[in-house]
Symmetry: C2
Subunit: 226 residues, 2 copies
Amino acid sequence: MRDAYHEELDSISDGLVEMARLVGSAMGRATTALLDADLALAESVIAADDKVNALHHDLENRAIDLLARQQPVATDLRIVVTSLRMSADLERCGDLARHVAKVARLRFPETAVPNDLHPIVLEMGQLAQRLVSKAGQVIATKDVDAALELERDDDAIDALHRELFSHLLDDRWQHGIETAVDVTLVGRYYERFADHAVSVAKRVVFLVTGEHAGDFVAAAESASAE
Amino acid sequence: MRDAYHEELDSISDGLVEMARLVGSAMGRATTALLDADLALAESVIAADDKVNALHHDLENRAIDLLARQQPVATDLRIVVTSLRMSADLERCGDLARHVAKVARLRFPETAVPNDLHPIVLEMGQLAQRLVSKAGQVIATKDVDAALELERDDDAIDALHRELFSHLLDDRWQHGIETAVDVTLVGRYYERFADHAVSVAKRVVFLVTGEHAGDFVAAAESASAE
Protein backbone atom coordinates (compact mmCIF):
# COMPACT_ATOMS: atom_id res chain seq x y z
CA MET A 1 0.00 0.00 0.00
CA ARG A 2 2.83 2.43 0.79
CA ASP A 3 4.17 2.05 -2.74
CA ALA A 4 0.81 2.78 -4.32
CA TYR A 5 0.57 5.74 -1.96
CA HIS A 6 3.89 7.22 -3.00
CA GLU A 7 3.14 6.58 -6.67
CA GLU A 8 -0.07 8.53 -6.30
CA LEU A 9 1.82 11.30 -4.48
CA ASP A 10 4.35 11.44 -7.34
CA SER A 11 1.53 11.61 -9.83
CA ILE A 12 0.01 14.58 -7.96
CA SER A 13 3.42 16.25 -8.01
CA ASP A 14 3.64 15.63 -11.78
CA GLY A 15 0.22 17.28 -12.15
CA LEU A 16 1.45 20.36 -10.28
CA VAL A 17 4.52 20.56 -12.52
CA GLU A 18 2.22 20.37 -15.55
CA MET A 19 0.01 23.15 -14.13
CA ALA A 20 3.11 25.33 -13.62
CA ARG A 21 4.13 24.69 -17.23
CA LEU A 22 0.65 25.57 -18.54
CA VAL A 23 0.25 28.79 -16.57
CA GLY A 24 3.80 29.92 -17.41
CA SER A 25 3.09 29.41 -21.09
CA ALA A 26 -0.28 31.17 -20.69
CA MET A 27 1.34 34.24 -19.10
CA GLY A 28 4.02 34.36 -21.81
CA ARG A 29 1.40 34.20 -24.56
CA ALA A 30 -0.88 36.68 -22.75
CA THR A 31 2.00 39.16 -22.61
CA THR A 32 2.65 38.73 -26.34
CA ALA A 33 -1.07 39.16 -27.07
CA LEU A 34 -1.09 42.31 -24.93
CA LEU A 35 1.93 43.95 -26.55
CA ASP A 36 1.11 42.89 -30.14
CA ALA A 37 -2.66 43.43 -29.83
CA ASP A 38 -3.08 39.86 -31.10
CA LEU A 39 -6.75 38.99 -30.65
CA ALA A 40 -6.50 35.35 -31.72
CA LEU A 41 -3.66 34.73 -29.28
CA ALA A 42 -5.59 36.47 -26.48
CA GLU A 43 -8.65 34.31 -27.20
CA SER A 44 -6.55 31.14 -27.13
CA VAL A 45 -5.11 32.06 -23.70
CA ILE A 46 -8.61 32.75 -22.35
CA ALA A 47 -9.93 29.43 -23.71
CA ALA A 48 -6.92 27.43 -22.50
CA ASP A 49 -7.51 28.37 -18.86
CA ASP A 50 -10.26 25.74 -18.75
CA LYS A 51 -7.57 23.08 -18.98
CA VAL A 52 -5.74 24.53 -15.95
CA ASN A 53 -8.98 24.62 -13.97
CA ALA A 54 -9.75 21.00 -14.91
CA LEU A 55 -6.27 19.90 -13.81
CA HIS A 56 -6.72 21.81 -10.55
CA HIS A 57 -10.02 20.11 -9.76
CA ASP A 58 -8.66 16.72 -10.71
CA LEU A 59 -5.63 17.21 -8.43
CA GLU A 60 -7.82 18.36 -5.56
CA ASN A 61 -10.09 15.37 -5.86
CA ARG A 62 -7.13 13.02 -5.98
CA ALA A 63 -5.50 14.67 -2.95
CA ILE A 64 -8.72 14.45 -0.92
CA ASP A 65 -9.21 10.87 -2.05
CA LEU A 66 -5.66 10.09 -0.95
CA LEU A 67 -6.33 11.60 2.49
CA ALA A 68 -9.46 9.47 2.85
CA ARG A 69 -7.95 6.20 1.64
CA GLN A 70 -4.43 6.35 3.07
CA GLN A 71 -4.91 8.55 6.14
CA PRO A 72 -1.35 9.87 6.08
CA VAL A 73 0.20 11.48 9.16
CA ALA A 74 3.18 13.74 9.89
CA THR A 75 5.24 14.67 6.81
CA ASP A 76 3.06 12.69 4.41
CA LEU A 77 -0.02 14.54 5.60
CA ARG A 78 1.71 17.88 5.24
CA ILE A 79 2.78 17.00 1.69
CA VAL A 80 -0.80 16.31 0.64
CA VAL A 81 -2.20 19.45 2.33
CA THR A 82 0.60 21.51 0.78
CA SER A 83 -0.23 20.04 -2.64
CA LEU A 84 -3.79 21.31 -2.25
CA ARG A 85 -2.44 24.78 -1.56
CA MET A 86 0.04 24.73 -4.44
CA SER A 87 -2.72 23.66 -6.80
CA ALA A 88 -4.81 26.63 -5.63
CA ASP A 89 -1.83 28.99 -6.15
CA LEU A 90 -1.25 27.71 -9.69
CA GLU A 91 -4.95 27.81 -10.56
CA ARG A 92 -4.94 31.47 -9.51
CA CYS A 93 -1.86 32.09 -11.73
CA GLY A 94 -3.96 30.77 -14.63
CA ASP A 95 -6.74 33.24 -13.79
CA LEU A 96 -4.25 36.11 -13.76
CA ALA A 97 -2.82 35.14 -17.17
CA ARG A 98 -6.41 35.07 -18.46
CA HIS A 99 -7.01 38.54 -16.95
CA VAL A 100 -4.01 39.91 -18.90
CA ALA A 101 -5.36 38.30 -22.09
CA LYS A 102 -8.77 39.85 -21.43
CA VAL A 103 -7.25 43.33 -21.27
CA ALA A 104 -5.60 42.62 -24.65
CA ARG A 105 -8.96 41.50 -26.07
CA LEU A 106 -10.83 44.48 -24.60
CA ARG A 107 -8.58 47.04 -26.30
CA PHE A 108 -8.15 45.24 -29.64
CA PRO A 109 -7.30 46.50 -32.29
CA GLU A 110 -5.47 49.05 -30.11
CA THR A 111 -2.69 47.93 -27.78
CA ALA A 112 -3.60 48.50 -24.14
CA VAL A 113 0.02 49.33 -23.25
CA PRO A 114 1.68 52.44 -24.76
CA ASN A 115 4.90 51.88 -26.71
CA ASP A 116 7.18 53.54 -24.17
CA LEU A 117 6.04 51.04 -21.51
CA HIS A 118 6.49 47.95 -23.69
CA PRO A 119 9.99 47.14 -22.39
CA ILE A 120 8.84 47.22 -18.74
CA VAL A 121 5.73 45.14 -19.38
CA LEU A 122 7.67 42.69 -21.56
CA GLU A 123 10.23 42.20 -18.80
CA MET A 124 7.51 41.77 -16.16
CA GLY A 125 5.88 39.13 -18.37
CA GLN A 126 9.19 37.33 -18.95
CA LEU A 127 10.08 37.37 -15.26
CA ALA A 128 6.60 36.13 -14.31
CA GLN A 129 6.93 33.26 -16.77
CA ARG A 130 10.43 32.44 -15.50
CA LEU A 131 9.28 32.54 -11.87
CA VAL A 132 6.55 29.99 -12.37
CA SER A 133 8.82 27.87 -14.54
CA LYS A 134 11.35 27.78 -11.69
CA ALA A 135 8.54 27.04 -9.24
CA GLY A 136 7.65 24.01 -11.38
CA GLN A 137 11.30 22.91 -11.28
CA VAL A 138 11.34 23.30 -7.52
CA ILE A 139 8.25 21.08 -7.23
CA ALA A 140 9.92 18.45 -9.43
CA THR A 141 13.41 18.53 -7.92
CA LYS A 142 12.79 19.76 -4.36
CA ASP A 143 15.89 21.94 -4.93
CA VAL A 144 15.92 24.43 -2.07
CA ASP A 145 18.68 26.59 -3.58
CA ALA A 146 16.66 27.06 -6.77
CA ALA A 147 13.71 28.09 -4.62
CA LEU A 148 15.75 30.90 -3.10
CA GLU A 149 16.43 32.30 -6.60
CA LEU A 150 12.71 32.98 -6.93
CA GLU A 151 12.92 35.61 -4.21
CA ARG A 152 15.46 37.56 -6.27
CA ASP A 153 13.30 37.36 -9.38
CA ASP A 154 10.33 38.50 -7.35
CA ASP A 155 12.32 41.52 -6.13
CA ALA A 156 13.04 42.32 -9.78
CA ILE A 157 9.32 42.19 -10.60
CA ASP A 158 8.54 44.46 -7.65
CA ALA A 159 11.16 46.95 -8.89
CA LEU A 160 9.60 46.91 -12.39
CA HIS A 161 6.17 47.37 -10.83
CA ARG A 162 7.42 50.47 -9.02
CA GLU A 163 8.94 51.73 -12.28
CA LEU A 164 5.58 51.26 -14.00
CA PHE A 165 3.94 53.35 -11.27
CA SER A 166 6.54 56.07 -11.56
CA HIS A 167 5.61 56.38 -15.26
CA LEU A 168 1.90 56.43 -14.42
CA LEU A 169 2.35 59.15 -11.82
CA ASP A 170 4.77 61.25 -13.85
CA ASP A 171 3.34 64.67 -14.76
CA ARG A 172 4.34 64.00 -18.33
CA TRP A 173 1.96 61.01 -18.66
CA GLN A 174 0.16 61.58 -21.97
CA HIS A 175 -1.83 58.40 -22.46
CA GLY A 176 -5.03 59.33 -20.72
CA ILE A 177 -7.08 57.69 -18.00
CA GLU A 178 -8.24 54.53 -19.76
CA THR A 179 -4.66 53.49 -20.44
CA ALA A 180 -3.67 54.39 -16.87
CA VAL A 181 -6.43 52.09 -15.59
CA ASP A 182 -5.33 49.27 -17.91
CA VAL A 183 -1.68 49.62 -16.94
CA THR A 184 -2.56 49.72 -13.23
CA LEU A 185 -4.54 46.49 -13.46
CA VAL A 186 -2.04 44.69 -15.69
CA GLY A 187 0.79 45.63 -13.34
CA ARG A 188 -1.17 44.21 -10.43
CA TYR A 189 -1.88 40.96 -12.33
CA TYR A 190 1.85 40.37 -12.94
CA GLU A 191 2.69 41.16 -9.34
CA ARG A 192 0.06 38.77 -7.96
CA PHE A 193 1.11 36.05 -10.43
CA ALA A 194 4.71 36.37 -9.17
CA ASP A 195 3.55 36.28 -5.53
CA HIS A 196 1.73 32.99 -6.12
CA ALA A 197 4.78 31.49 -7.88
CA VAL A 198 7.01 32.48 -4.94
CA SER A 199 4.42 31.08 -2.56
CA VAL A 200 4.58 27.69 -4.35
CA ALA A 201 8.37 27.58 -4.06
CA LYS A 202 8.31 28.58 -0.39
CA ARG A 203 5.83 25.85 0.39
CA VAL A 204 8.26 23.29 -1.09
CA VAL A 205 11.20 24.76 0.86
CA PHE A 206 9.37 24.50 4.14
CA LEU A 207 8.30 20.94 3.42
CA VAL A 208 11.87 19.93 2.55
CA THR A 209 13.55 21.73 5.44
CA GLY A 210 11.02 20.14 7.78
CA GLU A 211 9.66 23.16 9.59
CA HIS A 212 6.50 22.77 11.58
CA ALA A 213 3.26 23.19 9.67
CA GLY A 214 2.60 26.51 11.35
CA ASP A 215 5.91 27.96 10.31
CA PHE A 216 5.75 26.88 6.71
CA VAL A 217 2.19 28.02 6.42
CA ALA A 218 3.10 31.38 7.94
CA ALA A 219 6.02 31.92 5.59
CA ALA A 220 4.12 30.88 2.50
CA GLU A 221 1.11 32.95 3.45
CA SER A 222 3.14 36.04 4.13
CA ALA A 223 4.67 35.58 0.68
CA SER A 224 1.26 35.45 -0.90
CA ALA A 225 -0.30 38.10 1.30
CA GLU A 226 0.77 41.28 -0.51
CA MET B 1 -13.28 10.20 20.64
CA ARG B 2 -16.02 11.22 18.24
CA ASP B 3 -17.33 13.79 20.72
CA ALA B 4 -13.93 15.37 21.21
CA TYR B 5 -13.63 15.38 17.45
CA HIS B 6 -16.88 17.22 16.88
CA GLU B 7 -16.08 19.66 19.67
CA GLU B 8 -12.81 20.49 17.96
CA LEU B 9 -14.65 20.87 14.63
CA ASP B 10 -17.13 23.27 16.27
CA SER B 11 -14.26 25.23 17.72
CA ILE B 12 -12.66 25.54 14.26
CA SER B 13 -16.04 26.74 12.95
CA ASP B 14 -16.19 29.32 15.77
CA GLY B 15 -12.73 30.51 14.77
CA LEU B 16 -13.88 31.00 11.17
CA VAL B 17 -16.91 33.00 12.36
CA GLU B 18 -14.57 35.17 14.44
CA MET B 19 -12.29 35.72 11.42
CA ALA B 20 -15.32 36.79 9.35
CA ARG B 21 -16.31 39.25 12.07
CA LEU B 22 -12.79 40.69 12.26
CA VAL B 23 -12.31 41.15 8.51
CA GLY B 24 -15.80 42.63 8.11
CA SER B 25 -15.05 45.17 10.81
CA ALA B 26 -11.63 45.84 9.23
CA MET B 27 -13.18 46.55 5.83
CA GLY B 28 -15.80 48.84 7.39
CA ARG B 29 -13.13 50.79 9.25
CA ALA B 30 -10.82 50.86 6.22
CA THR B 31 -13.62 52.39 4.16
CA THR B 32 -14.22 55.07 6.80
CA ALA B 33 -10.47 55.77 6.97
CA LEU B 34 -10.38 56.06 3.18
CA LEU B 35 -13.32 58.45 2.87
CA ASP B 36 -12.46 60.57 5.95
CA ALA B 37 -8.68 60.53 5.40
CA ASP B 38 -8.35 59.28 8.97
CA LEU B 39 -4.72 58.27 9.44
CA ALA B 40 -5.08 56.86 12.95
CA LEU B 41 -7.97 54.64 11.86
CA ALA B 42 -6.03 53.48 8.80
CA GLU B 43 -3.04 52.58 10.97
CA SER B 44 -5.25 50.64 13.36
CA VAL B 45 -6.70 48.58 10.49
CA ILE B 46 -3.21 47.83 9.17
CA ALA B 47 -1.98 46.78 12.62
CA ALA B 48 -5.07 44.69 13.40
CA ASP B 49 -4.52 42.42 10.40
CA ASP B 50 -1.85 40.59 12.43
CA LYS B 51 -4.61 39.20 14.60
CA VAL B 52 -6.46 37.81 11.56
CA ASN B 53 -3.25 36.21 10.31
CA ALA B 54 -2.58 34.67 13.72
CA LEU B 55 -6.11 33.24 13.85
CA HIS B 56 -5.66 31.85 10.33
CA HIS B 57 -2.43 30.06 11.23
CA ASP B 58 -3.88 28.75 14.44
CA LEU B 59 -6.94 27.37 12.60
CA GLU B 60 -4.76 25.76 9.93
CA ASN B 61 -2.59 24.06 12.50
CA ARG B 62 -5.62 22.79 14.36
CA ALA B 63 -7.25 21.51 11.16
CA ILE B 64 -4.07 19.68 10.12
CA ASP B 65 -3.68 18.31 13.63
CA LEU B 66 -7.28 17.09 13.49
CA LEU B 67 -6.61 15.32 10.18
CA ALA B 68 -3.57 13.60 11.68
CA ARG B 69 -5.16 12.57 14.96
CA GLN B 70 -8.69 11.66 13.89
CA GLN B 71 -8.20 10.62 10.28
CA PRO B 72 -11.71 11.59 9.21
CA VAL B 73 -13.24 10.24 6.00
CA ALA B 74 -16.16 11.17 3.75
CA THR B 75 -18.14 14.22 4.90
CA ASP B 76 -15.98 14.81 7.98
CA LEU B 77 -12.85 14.92 5.85
CA ARG B 78 -14.49 17.34 3.43
CA ILE B 79 -15.52 19.62 6.30
CA VAL B 80 -11.94 19.88 7.55
CA VAL B 81 -10.46 20.45 4.08
CA THR B 82 -13.17 23.05 3.39
CA SER B 83 -12.33 24.79 6.68
CA LEU B 84 -8.74 25.14 5.51
CA ARG B 85 -9.99 26.81 2.34
CA MET B 86 -12.42 29.12 4.14
CA SER B 87 -9.67 30.20 6.49
CA ALA B 88 -7.50 31.07 3.48
CA ASP B 89 -10.39 33.04 1.90
CA LEU B 90 -10.95 35.04 5.09
CA GLU B 91 -7.24 35.65 5.63
CA ARG B 92 -7.15 37.10 2.11
CA CYS B 93 -10.16 39.34 2.96
CA GLY B 94 -8.07 40.71 5.82
CA ASP B 95 -5.22 41.50 3.41
CA LEU B 96 -7.61 43.35 1.12
CA ALA B 97 -9.01 45.47 3.98
CA ARG B 98 -5.41 46.29 4.88
CA HIS B 99 -4.72 47.26 1.25
CA VAL B 100 -7.64 49.75 1.35
CA ALA B 101 -6.30 51.19 4.61
CA LYS B 102 -2.84 51.52 3.04
CA VAL B 103 -4.26 53.62 0.20
CA ALA B 104 -5.86 55.88 2.84
CA ARG B 105 -2.52 56.17 4.64
CA LEU B 106 -0.58 56.81 1.45
CA ARG B 107 -2.71 59.82 0.45
CA PHE B 108 -3.14 61.32 3.93
CA PRO B 109 -3.91 64.19 4.60
CA GLU B 110 -5.69 64.15 1.23
CA THR B 111 -8.54 61.73 0.59
CA ALA B 112 -7.68 59.21 -2.11
CA VAL B 113 -11.29 59.15 -3.38
CA PRO B 114 -12.81 62.31 -4.89
CA ASN B 115 -16.01 63.60 -3.28
CA ASP B 116 -18.27 62.74 -6.20
CA LEU B 117 -17.27 59.06 -5.89
CA HIS B 118 -17.77 58.87 -2.12
CA PRO B 119 -21.33 57.46 -2.36
CA ILE B 120 -20.24 54.62 -4.67
CA VAL B 121 -17.19 53.71 -2.60
CA LEU B 122 -19.17 53.96 0.65
CA GLU B 123 -21.78 51.57 -0.74
CA MET B 124 -19.13 49.15 -2.00
CA GLY B 125 -17.56 49.18 1.46
CA GLN B 126 -20.91 48.62 3.19
CA LEU B 127 -21.85 45.80 0.84
CA ALA B 128 -18.44 44.17 1.26
CA GLN B 129 -18.82 44.31 5.04
CA ARG B 130 -22.37 42.94 4.83
CA LEU B 131 -21.28 40.12 2.52
CA VAL B 132 -18.62 38.81 4.86
CA SER B 133 -20.91 39.28 7.84
CA LYS B 134 -23.49 37.07 6.09
CA ALA B 135 -20.76 34.60 5.19
CA GLY B 136 -19.93 34.37 8.90
CA GLN B 137 -23.61 33.72 9.65
CA VAL B 138 -23.71 31.02 7.00
CA ILE B 139 -20.70 29.30 8.60
CA ALA B 140 -22.41 29.46 12.00
CA THR B 141 -25.93 28.46 10.95
CA LYS B 142 -25.33 26.41 7.76
CA ASP B 143 -28.33 28.32 6.38
CA VAL B 144 -28.35 27.63 2.65
CA ASP B 145 -31.00 30.27 1.87
CA ALA B 146 -28.92 32.98 3.52
CA ALA B 147 -25.99 31.83 1.42
CA LEU B 148 -27.94 32.46 -1.75
CA GLU B 149 -28.50 36.09 -0.68
CA LEU B 150 -24.78 36.65 -0.95
CA GLU B 151 -24.95 36.18 -4.70
CA ARG B 152 -27.38 39.08 -4.98
CA ASP B 153 -25.18 41.32 -2.86
CA ASP B 154 -22.21 40.32 -4.97
CA ASP B 155 -24.12 41.30 -8.12
CA ALA B 156 -24.76 44.70 -6.48
CA ILE B 157 -21.03 45.13 -5.82
CA ASP B 158 -20.22 44.20 -9.42
CA ALA B 159 -22.74 46.82 -10.62
CA LEU B 160 -21.12 49.47 -8.40
CA HIS B 161 -17.70 48.42 -9.66
CA ARG B 162 -18.87 48.97 -13.26
CA GLU B 163 -20.31 52.36 -12.23
CA LEU B 164 -16.93 53.29 -10.74
CA PHE B 165 -15.28 52.40 -14.05
CA SER B 166 -17.79 54.43 -16.03
CA HIS B 167 -16.77 57.47 -13.97
CA LEU B 168 -13.09 56.72 -14.46
CA LEU B 169 -13.48 56.39 -18.22
CA ASP B 170 -15.79 59.37 -18.64
CA ASP B 171 -14.23 62.16 -20.71
CA ARG B 172 -15.21 64.59 -17.96
CA TRP B 173 -12.91 62.88 -15.39
CA GLN B 174 -11.03 65.77 -13.76
CA HIS B 175 -9.15 64.12 -10.92
CA GLY B 176 -5.94 63.22 -12.68
CA ILE B 177 -4.00 60.02 -13.07
CA GLU B 178 -2.93 59.40 -9.49
CA THR B 179 -6.52 59.37 -8.31
CA ALA B 180 -7.54 57.18 -11.24
CA VAL B 181 -4.88 54.66 -10.21
CA ASP B 182 -6.03 54.74 -6.57
CA VAL B 183 -9.68 54.34 -7.49
CA THR B 184 -8.86 51.47 -9.89
CA LEU B 185 -6.98 49.58 -7.17
CA VAL B 186 -9.50 50.28 -4.42
CA GLY B 187 -12.35 49.11 -6.67
CA ARG B 188 -10.46 45.91 -7.35
CA TYR B 189 -9.86 45.34 -3.60
CA TYR B 190 -13.58 45.57 -2.81
CA GLU B 191 -14.45 43.28 -5.69
CA ARG B 192 -11.92 40.62 -4.64
CA PHE B 193 -13.03 40.89 -1.00
CA ALA B 194 -16.62 40.23 -2.08
CA ASP B 195 -15.53 37.30 -4.27
CA HIS B 196 -13.81 35.64 -1.30
CA ALA B 197 -16.87 36.18 0.92
CA VAL B 198 -19.11 34.57 -1.71
CA SER B 199 -16.61 31.75 -2.06
CA VAL B 200 -16.85 31.05 1.70
CA ALA B 201 -20.65 30.88 1.55
CA LYS B 202 -20.61 28.63 -1.52
CA ARG B 203 -18.25 26.24 0.16
CA VAL B 204 -20.72 25.90 3.04
CA VAL B 205 -23.64 25.38 0.63
CA PHE B 206 -21.89 22.60 -1.16
CA LEU B 207 -20.92 20.92 2.07
CA VAL B 208 -24.50 21.09 3.34
CA THR B 209 -26.18 20.00 0.12
CA GLY B 210 -23.74 17.13 -0.08
CA GLU B 211 -22.32 17.52 -3.54
CA HIS B 212 -19.19 15.61 -4.44
CA ALA B 213 -15.92 17.24 -3.48
CA GLY B 214 -15.14 17.98 -7.11
CA ASP B 215 -18.39 19.81 -7.68
CA PHE B 216 -18.25 21.97 -4.60
CA VAL B 217 -14.63 22.77 -5.24
CA ALA B 218 -15.45 23.70 -8.83
CA ALA B 219 -18.30 25.99 -7.85
CA ALA B 220 -16.40 27.68 -5.05
CA GLU B 221 -13.33 28.12 -7.21
CA SER B 222 -15.24 29.59 -10.09
CA ALA B 223 -16.75 32.05 -7.60
CA SER B 224 -13.31 33.06 -6.44
CA ALA B 225 -11.70 32.96 -9.87
CA GLU B 226 -12.77 36.33 -11.28
